[in-house]
Structures are given as structure tokens and as C-alpha cells.
């Protein structure tokens, strides 16, 4: 007889003691407080904004909305204007692609000081570089463009730089994380052979993370084409500039053409980037 064993079995077979669920309005109940805070935030937002629902939902507004939408038709498809839109589309495409390429280069340069190269690396520049990356990332492209207009002047150059600055912040952080997460083995092996830092990076770290970096860059390109399409609203070139110009003059037919071009461009870049990622993943 092994009494201890029987005891164990009896314990396992017995029902667990029944516990009451925690009371609903417990001061420690995080979810309740969070829910309450959320409701307060939403109510305060609606209350403090004095939204003009009356103006939006009234019959007048419905009429003017309908008239406004009606003016979009027919879109202007005269050859001269379509050519102008095509030129602006190419400009937008070039802005987004060049901005992304510059940002990938800048992000790679900044990701090196922002990541720990090996175990026990003190990486003194890590915190300040990450602060810089966060600041670049926090300011949206449009705000960068508005600020850059002063030194770069009106036109696509300011837009390209704005895209590059914001995207550098985004990509730099992603690249740094990718490099820190890469396996250390190959780099340590090269380092043990006494090979210099630059070559360790070029032949051990970079080949490992390159597919990931390329896929991040392609993903950002999809975002940047959307951003590039609207940057022109502050005067930074591309389709946005045409859009705000013709909308300002109430030429709704031309505005409609520009809008269609924007949608097509975004769809085109999405398809290209999807195809590129399929090829890379193979």
C-alpha cells in the first residue's frame, strides 16, 4: 500500500474549490477604469469640438453636397489636361521613389549607431541616435514639406526631401531593430578572426538582414506614394499641387481627373510592390 499516492489521486479527483468571480466595481479592476476613461475621453471630445452636425445633416448641406459631387462629372479628359496630369503623376512617382531610396540610405547610416553590434557593446550613440530618429519620425511629411519650402523653394525637391526625412526616421528605427535581432554567430566568427568592423558588417550582418530591409523599404514606398500624392497641397509638387490648384478654382471636372489619377497611381504602386515582394520571397 502506498498511502501517499492514493492521497494524490484523491486530491486530483476532487473538485477545485469554487471561487466567486471578482466584484465588478473593484477599485483594482483595471478594465473598468480604462473603460470609464475611454467613455470620458470620447464624450469630452465630441462635447468640446462643437461639431456642426446641423450644417452637415441639414437639407441645404445635402443639396450642396449633391451639387458638389455632381460637378465632378464629367471628368476633364481633354488631351492637353491629361498630358499635364500624366506629367504630374510621373513627378509624384519619382518623388516617392527617390524619397524612399534616400530614406533607405539615411536609415541604414543612422541604424548603425542606433543598434548594439554585439553582446556588451556599450553603444554610447544609441540613445541620442534613437532620439533623433524618433523626432524625424514624429513630424509628418506634410509638416516637413511646409518647413522645407523656405529653404528648398516650391516644387518637387522640397517634397522629396520631406518624404526622405520622415521615412529616414521610420526606416532607421526598423533597420536598427532588424540588425539587433539578427543572429550574432556569423559576425562573432568573423570578429574572432580579427576582421575589421566595416567588413564584419558588410559580410556578416548585412547579408542576413538585407531581405528584411528591402521588404520594409517596399512597404514604406507604398505609404510614400500616398503621402507624395498629397504633399503638393502645401506647394511641394506632384499631383497634390494640381489638385489644390484646380479645387481652389472650383474646376471640379479637372479635380476629378486628378483624383482618378491618384487612385490609379496608388493601385499601380501597390501592385508593383506586391509583385516585388513575391519575387523576393521566392
Amino acid at each position: 500500500m502506498k498511502p501517499a499516492r492514493v492521497d494524490n489521486v484523491a486530491n486530483a479527483a476532487a473538485n477545485r474549490p469554487y471561487r466567486l468571480p471578482p466584484p465588478l466595481f473593484d477599485a483594482r479592476c483595471k478594465a473598468c477604469w480604462f473603460g470609464l476613461g475611454l467613455v470620458v475621453l470620447v464624450v469630452a471630445s465630441f462635447w468640446s469640438l462643437d461639431l456642426q452636425w446641423a450644417a452637415f445633416l441639414s437639407r441645404d448641406a445635402a443639396h450642396s453636397m449633391a451639387r458638389f459631387v455632381g460637378e465632378f462629372f464629367p471628368p476633364d479628359v481633354s488631351p492637353a489636361f491629361v498630358r499635364k496630369v500624366a506629367v504630374a503623376s510621373v513627378e509624384t512617382l519619382a518623388m516617392s521613389a527617390l524619397g524612399t531610396v534616400l530614406a533607405a540610405a539615411g536609415g541604414l547610416v543612422l541604424a548603425l549607431p542606433a543598434s548594439r553590434a554585439r553582446e556588451g557593446d556599450r553603444a554610447l550613440a544609441r540613445a541620442p541616435t534613437r532620439l533623433l530618429l524618433n523626432a524625424l519620425r514624429a513630424v509628418p511629411e506634410l509638416v516637413w514639406a511646409a518647413l522645407l519650402l523656405i529653404s528648398a523653394g516650391l516644387g518637387p525637391f522640397a517634397g522629396t526631401l520631406a518624404l526622405a526625412l520622415h521615412t529616414t526616421g521610420v526606416l532607421g528605427r526598423l533597420f536598427a531593430e532588424a540588425m539587433e535581432n539578427a543572429s550574432r554567430g556569423p559576425a562573432d566568427a568573423l570578429r574572432a578572426q580579427g576582421i575589421g568592423r566595416v567588413r564584419v558588417f558588410l559580410y556578416a550582418t548585412l547579408p542576413q538582414v538585407l531581405p528584411q530591409l528591402v521588404s520594409y523599404t517596399l512597404y514604406r514606398w507604398e505609404n510614400n506614394i500616398r503621402a507624395a500624392a498629397i504633399l503638393g497641397v502645401v506647394g511641394a509638387g506632384g499631383l497634390g499641387q494640381l489638385l489644390s490648384f484646380h479645387m481652389g478654382l472650383f474646376q471640379m471636372g479637372k479635380t476629378a481627373t486628378v483624383l482618378v489619377a491618384m487612385l490609379l497611381l496608388v493601385a499601380l504602386v501597390d501592385a508593383l510592390s506586391y509583385a516585388a515582394r513575391r519575387v523576393l520571397a521566392r
Binding site: 470620447v42 456642426q52 458638389f68 527617390l98 523656405i150 529653404s151 528648398a152 525637391f157 497641397v233
Partner: protein, 276 residues
């Protein structure tokens, strides 16, 4: 006698690398021309003067009490526009998700979905695609025409674009999860809403909430951008201060803005960790 070979002096793959660098430069060239990429204009005499003068006025940042109060009010307004926009976006996204999720189809339980529900689901999907392909700035430009300047245009713009995005991603999340529990409920005669509330939602609640919080953070950023077309908030102030070359004010607002984004980032990270 097995000494390690000395490392090769030359990169074994140099020819391929040289080719790809050359090809990239050839591709890059037309882009540089199209975007009028002339970095030296940044340092030309006529652009250096105003730039340095503008940057010089950044220090010290403006800290007059009146101005700080204004910035605080506009910052709250941005948060409020983003919150109200996301709330309305949910009003669009939740019904659209319920209507477009394939998992909640009763006819699809036994083979193919019936043609009418399939067409309805596809129509809702197309509507969501349309909503989110138009950038929020363009929606805002349209609504500024209809309802006039002010936060209403910003809230509506965020509601429409983010409604499209949330609706699409919610659908993807629900369909990528495990579906047998939901299908068992449906097969045993529960309604679609019941199957959603007791089968799909509990499984995916954490992921859905975390994506919503992430989008709220994005909405704060885009509410600032919408200010540039007259939706109020920090963006509008930033626009007018930049146009008046008031560098101190611009510096203060940029700092506040970076702090706001960092705070929203921190809050959303904390929330997502609490939910996981």
C-alpha cells in the same frame, strides 16, 4: 599542416555588385531630373539667408503664457478630432465588418456561399476600398467646401478614411483566426450576431483592440496634417506661424507635437502590452 587560409584580399562577388550599383544609378538618374533634385540650391546665397534667419528665430522657443495656453487648447483639439474621428470610423467599420465577414455566412457552411450574400459582401468590400484609397487630406478638402472651415471637416475625413481601413483590417483579423467554434455555433442554429459575440469576438478581441489603438495613434498624427487645410488644431497654427516666419512659435509647437506623438506611442504600447 592545416593553417587557415588567409582571407581573400578581394571581394569574390565584386563584379555583380558593381553591375547592380551601376543599374541603380541608371534608374536613379531620370528620377533625379524629374524631382529637380539640386541639393546645392539649399546652400545658394538666396536660400541660405532666409533659412538661417528663420532657424535663428527658433531660439528661444516662444513661451508666453497666452501662447502656451493657445497651444494647449489646440493640442487638445487634435486629440479630440482624432478620438471623435475614430469613434465615427468604428460606426462605419463595425457594421461593414459584420456584413463582409465570410465566416459569418450561413450558406457558406454547406459548400459555396449563395450568390446574393456573396455579391453583398463583395460590394461592402469595394466600398471599403474606395473609402480608404482616397487620402484623408482629400476628404478634408472636400468637406471643408461643404461644411466650412473647422473641426467638423477633419472629424469626417478621419472617420471615412479610417472607417475603410479599420473595416478591412477587422475583416482580415476575423478571417485569419480559428473559425471552428463560430461555425459550430452557426451550424447549431445560433444567429449571426450571437455567433459573432460568443465565437469570433472573444478569440480576436485583443488583436482588434490593439489595432484600433494603433490607428488612434495614427489619427492623432493625421489630425495635425489636416490642420493645414483648415481643420483646426496644431497644424493650422503651425501653418500660419511658418508663413509669418515666427520661428519661436514653430519651435514650441514642433516640440509639443513630438512630445504628443511620443506620449500617444507610449500609451498605445502600454495598452497593447496590457491586452496581450
Amino acid at each position: 599542416m592545416n593553417r587557415a587560409l588567409p582571407p581573400p584580399r578581394r571581394d569574390p562577388a565584386w563584379l555583380g555588385r558593381l553591375f547592380w550599383i551601376g543599374a541603380a544609378l541608371v534608374l536613379l538618374w531620370p528620377m533625379l531630373v524629374t524631382t529637380e533634385f539640386r541639393p546645392w540650391t539649399l546652400f545658394s546665397a538666396e536660400s541660405r539667408g532666409p533659412t538661417l534667419r528663420f532657424l535663428g528665430t527658433f531660439l528661444p522657443p516662444a513661451v508666453e503664457p497666452d501662447f502656451l495656453w493657445l497651444v494647449a487648447r489646440e493640442t487638445w483639439r487634435n486629440v479630440a478630432i482624432a478620438t471623435a474621428g475614430i469613434t465615427l470610423a468604428l460606426v462605419i467599420a463595425v457594421p461593414a465588418t459584420l456584413a463582409s465577414t465570410r465566416v459569418l455566412s450561413i450558406s457558406a457552411l454547406s459548400g459555396r456561399m449563395a450568390p446574393l450574400p456573396a455579391a453583398l459582401r463583395q460590394a461592402v468590400r469595394w466600398a471599403l476600398v474606395l473609402l480608404r484609397s482616397v487620402p484623408e487630406l482629400v476628404w478634408a478638402l472636400v468637406f471643408v467646401r461643404v461644411v466650412g472651415l473647422g473641426p467638423t471637416a477633419g472629424v469626417l475625413a478621419i472617420a471615412l478614411t479610417y472607417g475603410g481601413m479599420l473595416g478591412k483590417v477587422y475583416g482580415d483579423i476575423l478571417e485569419s483566426g480559428e473559425t471552428p467554434a463560430t461555425q459550430a455555433l452557426l451550424a447549431n442554429g445560433s444567429g449571426r450576431l450571437q455567433a459573432f459575440a460568443y465565437g469570433l469576438l472573444p478569440q480576436n478581441a485583443a488583436e482588434l483592440t490593439s489595432y484600433t489603438v494603433y490607428r488612434w495613434e495614427c489619427a492623432i498624427r493625421s489630425s495635425v496634417v489636416l490642420g493645414f487645410v483648415g481643420a483646426g488644431g496644431l497644424g493650422q497654427q503651425l501653418d500660419s506661424s511658418t508663413k509669418m516666419f515666427a520661428g519661436g512659435e514653430v519651435a514650441t509647437m514642433l516640440l509639443v507635437f513630438v512630445a504628443l506623438v511620443a506620449l500617444a506611442d507610449r500609451a498605445s504600447t502600454w495598452l497593447r502590452r496590457a491586452l496581450a
